[in-house]
């Protein structure tokens, strides 16, 4: 029997699932090897047992946490798909503010007050923090990035089909930048988060003339003190530095990781 795989989305833009559909060149080969049993973007069926669950998005509300625990309970392996599921992504910045304050900033004072007084609306603010999956359930593998990298998804899937997990070295983006033969971003007088960010993206942003903003998350031993000192030495204000770190890595900064 072919392995049953399923895709789920929590709080996210569904861009990772879109990136997955971009694997159209190998999709038919893939369907020879696996059965896709749940995939809201493509199917309406559900399945009581799943071999590999891919979950996109971060967890905000208790009802989402319960849904996640339910998926974990019926899945043999659980993979966090993309930056939201792995490290909370940009929405984790909202953890700095009260839920009602956030709601007011986006929808105005009327909705801010109603969400606190109308029981029908309570689920909308009944969360205290944006959380990545690993804070709630055991995660077997994390496919980082905003969005996830399709080659990495395929590599993982091949390994899982062979009965193993891929080894992911804790390399900085600089490793792949050198492999790509790029000029270092600092050489052109700009700053970059490549030294403290998980590799795996083939330095795609730098290869296209931009810098690394850290969407794949901070490395476990990221030398943040040295990086902060370097950003200061390059003339960035404390506020700008904080913004740069918090764009994608807010949750990791708050968790004191590294």
């Amino acid at each position: 029997m072919k392995p049953r795989i399923a895709f789920f989305d929590m709080a996210s833009c569904e861009g990772c699932q879109l990136a997955l559909l971009d694997c159209e060149d190998i999709f038919l080969d893939l369907l020879e090897l696996v059965d896709i049993v749940e995939f809201r973007e493509a199917l309406s069926e559900t399945s009581p047992r799943i071999d590999i669950a891919f979950i996109e998005g971060s967890i905000h509300r208790e009802m989402d946490a319960d849904r996640l625990r339910g998926i974990r309970a019926r899945s043999r392996l659980l993979v966090a798909l993309g930056a939201c599921a792995c490290n909370g992504n940009v929405q984790a910045r909202s953890n700095l503010y009260s839920p009602a304050g956030n709601l007011g900033a986006v929808y105005g004072p009327g909705d801010r007050d109603r969400v606190q007084t109308d029981p029908e609306w309570w689920p909308l603010w009944a969360h205290t923090r944006v959380r990545p999956l690993r804070e709630l359930v055991r995660v077997d593998y994390e496919l980082r990035g905003c969005p996830m990298v399709k080659e990495e998804f395929l590599h993982l899937l091949k390994r899982l089909l062979l009965g193993s997990l891929p080894h992911t070295a804790a390399h900085a983006v600089c490793v792949e930048c050198k492999q790509q033969g790029n000029e270092c971003v600092f050489e052109r007088g700009e700053t970059c988060m490549g030294q403290i960010t998980w590799a795996g993206c083939h330095a795609i942003c730098i290869s296209h003339g931009y810098r690394c903003d850290g969407c794949r998350g901070l490395l476990p031993d990221a030398n943040l003190a040295a990086h902060r000192a370097l950003m200061r030495a390059r003339g960035l204000s404390e506020e700008t530095i904080e913004d740069r770190y918090r764009l994608f890595c807010s949750h990791e900064i708050d968790r004191g990781r590294p």
């Binding site: 395929l154 600089c174 000029e183 030294q195």
Partner: protein
């Protein structure tokens, strides 16, 4: 062997002409302030100006070249062999060797020295057929440096400046063009029919060039490479390692841009359409990367950046020179110091060690 004279224009025209038949690489601008050994195309911007005196910023500098020319012999990722499991379960293996002819031109002595050292390493013990196949099919055109590239250079202090061995053609800048010396049969075959003028006064011209060479050449070190090896042997407990690695990111840049680093990691990749087939691949690795010395069970032989920094420097100045009976395996190109975003420079580390070791 023969020697010729050519004008710079004549040489570059000949190189473009040769590049039409054989894949040819020459240093070309990369981004805003860097260089890459890129394919020579009919419209490639090839420059020789820096071979004269002075070092204008736009001239090729080894330290500003993140991927040294020798890495063309060991690309960042390559297939070592393909494999297939037949229906009876037997595995078959198919070797993959790159035997495409290539020319690498515009090589400075430091990088030529690095290739010469790698030739020794890749031939010793279990020879590396992938490196040796590319190397055997590659022609090297190197040139002398009469001025250091920039403030990062210390090639003379580690004995790399006078390197000629390994080159097929060796060029020396002259007042009236270039002296083209043929150093191998491969070089002789390549330059045949180039139309360069025979040179009858090679020795006098080499003496003239020597007289033009900057003195001192690049940054000096306060001890010889041999003395440095001795100092390193007793330096394990030195505070230098911690001091020079507190700001290290473990990003591996110093390894990956080093012309004598050659470490790699190996992995298998299977074909999704035919899961019984696949290939074994290798990719660049480096001893400053955090999990380089980690083994099964999670033990790490070199935990922390200080231990890894010690290992990196000892590899260049102590372990490999003794194992291979050569001089320093640091060629003084200045890449690791220049490319490091927090300016950790192997030159500073070694100088610091020597000075603290006392007379």
């Amino acid at each position: 062997m023969d020697a010729f004279l050519a004008s710079k224009r004549q040489f570059l025209d000949w190189l473009r002409h040769t590049a039409a038949d054989t894949e040819t690489f020459f240093p070309q601008p990369l981004g805003e302030a860097s260089f890459q050994f890129a394919r020579v195309r009919p419209d490639s911007p090839l420059r020789l100006e820096d071979w004269d005196s002075g070092t204008p910023r736009e001239a090729f500098r080894a330290s500003a070249n993140p991927v040294p020319p020798g890495k063309l012999l060991s690309p960042p990722g390559e297939t070592l062999f393909r494999f297939r499991r037949d229906p009876d379960g037997r595995l078959e293996f198919f070797p993959v060797l790159d035997d495409a002819p290539r020319i690498i031109a515009g090589i400075r002595p430091c990088d030529l020295h690095a290739i010469h050292l790698l030739d020794g390493i890749q031939s010793a013990g279990v020879p590396d057929p992938h490196y040796l196949s590319r190397r055997g099919h590659t022609t090297l055109i190197a040139h002398d440096c009469l001025q250091p590239c920039d403030e990062h250079c210390f090639c003379d202090a580690v004995g790399a400046l006078r390197q000629r061995q390994g080159a097929d053609l060796f060029l020396t800048p002259m007042e009236d063009g270039l002296l083209v010396e043929v150093l191998s049969e491969k070089g002789a075959a390549l330059v045949e029919g180039a139309g360069f003028s025979p040179c009858g006064d090679r020795e006098a011209r080499l003496a003239w060039a020597e007289g033009q060479r900057a003195r001192p050449f690049g940054r000096p070190l306060p001890a010889s490479p041999e003395a440095i090896a001795g100092i390193l042997a007793g330096s394990g407990a030195s505070p230098v390692w911690r001091e020079h690695s507190e700001r290290c990111f473990s990003c591996g840049t110093c390894n990956l841009v080093c012309p004598t680093c050659y470490c790699f990691d190996v992995s298998d990749d299977i074909d999704l359409a035919a899961p019984a087939e696949g290939r074994r691949c290798r990719t660049w690795d480096g001893c400053m990367l955090p999990d380089f010395a980690q083994v099964a069970g999670g033990h790490d032989f070199r935990p922390g950046t200080a231990a890894r920094q010690h290992h990196r420097v000892a590899r260049k100045f102590q372990y490999l020179p003794r194992q291979m009976a050569t001089g320093s395996h640091c060629v003084g190109c200045g890449r690791c110091g220049h490319q490091c975003t927090v300016d950790i420079d192997i030159y500073d580390i070694v100088k610091d060690l020597v000075e603290r070791a006392g007379p």
